[in-house]
């Protein structure tokens, strides 16, 4: 019997349904958290879990304002600051790593050193060991140099951690470019910096976006270093979140879920903004030019 082949771009309903189910399974923890964020304390702890309930914004309010047990007055929590810290620290360090990484990647790609691959390998070795191995020396270094608890300390650390990843990823994007275009620009009177900024960078914007988002997600969720190296003023959301676990009145799951939900928003937003670029970035080089 002759087999019929499906036309490209026309998957049947059956396939769509299966994909939706798999997608829902993947998304269910996130959905669970988001739902919990809108539940009252009783609903959040209900067994069996409630799928239908009256939503409340109470948890979101208490992320930023909480009534004191002793005085009964409403006072603001420091959560706004922690959100700012997370955005500022992750954004700056990933941005810095991207700038440094892009420059390094261009050099590695276009002006290879003797033993280029060895250097690239060495750069990557810092990502090979679990961070906990280096936590004590780094902590001591930060204490000695006075970087502990400062913005610059944690930003520099995250930048250093993101650079290898940026170098490797961005280098692969540069490697994909047709170097003739750069040569043509050189012949047409462009200086080296013009070649780089006007002709190389625009061609890999998608790749840079992808690198930025991946780096951002990694840094955004980082907990271990943030816990040890940030101070009261520079605490990031993951650390603050962990501290709510040990509240005076047991674990407030609704509050925790609300923080997580808010915490997801910036990443959602950035990913959504860059999603077209991101798709092109991750498929870069897989399609014949």
């Amino acid at each position: 019997m002759a087999r019929r082949y499906r036309e490209i771009g026309k998957a049947g309903w059956g396939y769509t349904l299966i994909t939706s189910i798999v997608g829902l399974i993947y998304f269910s923890p996130v959905l669970w958290i988001i739902l919990t964020a809108f539940k009252t304390r009783t609903d959040a702890l209900a067994v069996p879990p409630k799928l239908f309930f009256t939503p409340t914004l109470e948890n979101f309010t208490s992320v930023f304002y909480r009534s004191s047990i002793t005085t009964g007055t409403s006072q603001s929590t420091d959560m706004a600051l922690y959100f700012f810290n997370s955005i500022f620290i992750a954004g700056t360090s990933v941005g810095l790593a991207l700038i440094v990484g892009t420059l390094a990647a261009y050099a590695f790609s276009r002006y290879p050193l003797r033993g280029n691959d060895t250097y690239l390998f060495i750069i990557l070795t810092t990502r090979m060991m679990p961070p906990i191995v280096v936590i004590i020396p780094i902590f001591l270094m930060f204490r000695l140099s006075g970087l502990a608890g400062s913005y610059w300390g944690i930003i520099l650390l995250y930048t250093a951690f993101n650079i290898p990843f940026s170098v490797w990823l961005v280098k692969s994007f540069f490697d994909e470019l047709n170097p003739e275009i750069e040569d043509a620009a050189r012949m047409d009177g462009a200086s080296e910096s013009r070649v780089f900024f006007k002709f190389c960078i625009p061609q890999i914007l998608a790749g840079l976006s992808a690198t930025f988002v991946f780096g951002l997600i990694l840094t955004w969720n980082e907990f271990l270093f943030a816990l040890l190296l940030t101070g009261v003023e520079t605490r990031t959301v993951p650390v603050a979140m962990a501290r709510t676990l040990g509240g005076e009145v047991g674990v407030d799951y609704g509050l925790l879920a609300a923080i997580v939900t808010l915490f997801l928003l910036p990443i959602f937003f950035v990913t959504f903004l860059l999603q077209n670029q991101l798709l092109r970035g991750v498929t870069f080089g897989t399609v014949k030019k």
Binding site: I181, A184, D188, A190, F199, P202
Partner: protein, 364 residues
Amino acid sequence: MTIELKNLTKRFGDLTAVDQVNFDVGDGEVLCLLGPSGCGKTTTLRMIAGLEYATEGDVILQGKRVNELAPRDRNVAMSFQFYALYPSLSVADNLAFPLHAEGLSASEIDARVKKISDTLQLGGILKRTPGQLAEGEKQRVAVGRSIIRDPMCFLFDEPLSRLDVQLREEMRGEIKEVLQDLSRPTVIVTHDQLEALTMADRIAVMRDGRVEQVDTPHNVFQRPTNLFVAGFIGTPQMNLLPATFTESKGDGIAQFAVQGGQSMTIQVDRRIEELSPGTNVTLGIRPRNLEISRESAEDGISTVIDMVEPMGAETLIHLNDGHQDLRLVTDWRIPHAEGDKVHTRFPPHATHVFTEDEQVLRTQ
């Protein structure tokens, strides 16, 4: 205005990509660098452009040594194999880009872009970006961008290699026409001998980084100086038969023994008399010069038809005598069948004799 290369050499580590290349290109002359891939022709071109530094030797443009000059200071225009159009710029901006470096006014730039787009019929696509162009259009824009300035010389790297056969023929004519109008020294890199033979005033045949012969297309074809050039130029390929020179009969008439024991007496260059009998040589004859006959003759060998390939106006016949293969091109009207026993004839002066050091034996 001239391009002159003196003992130009490029080494990448232990690899010598270009080895002691010498040639010069005069004003308005088109020189084709022809050779198999990896023979160093593109590297040579890039050294003229300044995109590679010469390890040894000199690049001399207009009588001035430019080895240390950056590409943009050499006033050379180059068109690249993959066109190298700037992907983020429109066709008009692509064309205008080289002019910005010259510091021309906006109105002047517009006028020049207009003129070039008229010459190359780019008017309809000026606002498009390179991604929206067909291959032929990309090629046109690339040519336009390289000729929009008034550079000292032009360099083309495999200008037609990415086009299909029909478009290639069309563009070949167009580029030739454009180059004639410009009358600047031009170097074209190609691996396609037809392209070289049709477009060049002179051809430099390269192998393994060395220039084997620099001559007019006619001479490269008719008077190859060595075995490599003889075998490389011409389709179908020249027949090359190992043979032993046995006896000279004066006036260039000589007797050769080919592999398998058959011998033939043919007229070749008079310098054959310099060789002593018993010397091993290689005989070269083009498939179109070789003749076929039903009767046995002294000036050829007996063979059997192996295969008949009709090529339209002509027929390519593969012959074999058990020891060597010969290719022969005849008129399509003469019928031949596979398995027929035929005799070949080597007409006077149609055979080139190459000595064991692969050089041709020829009176200048």
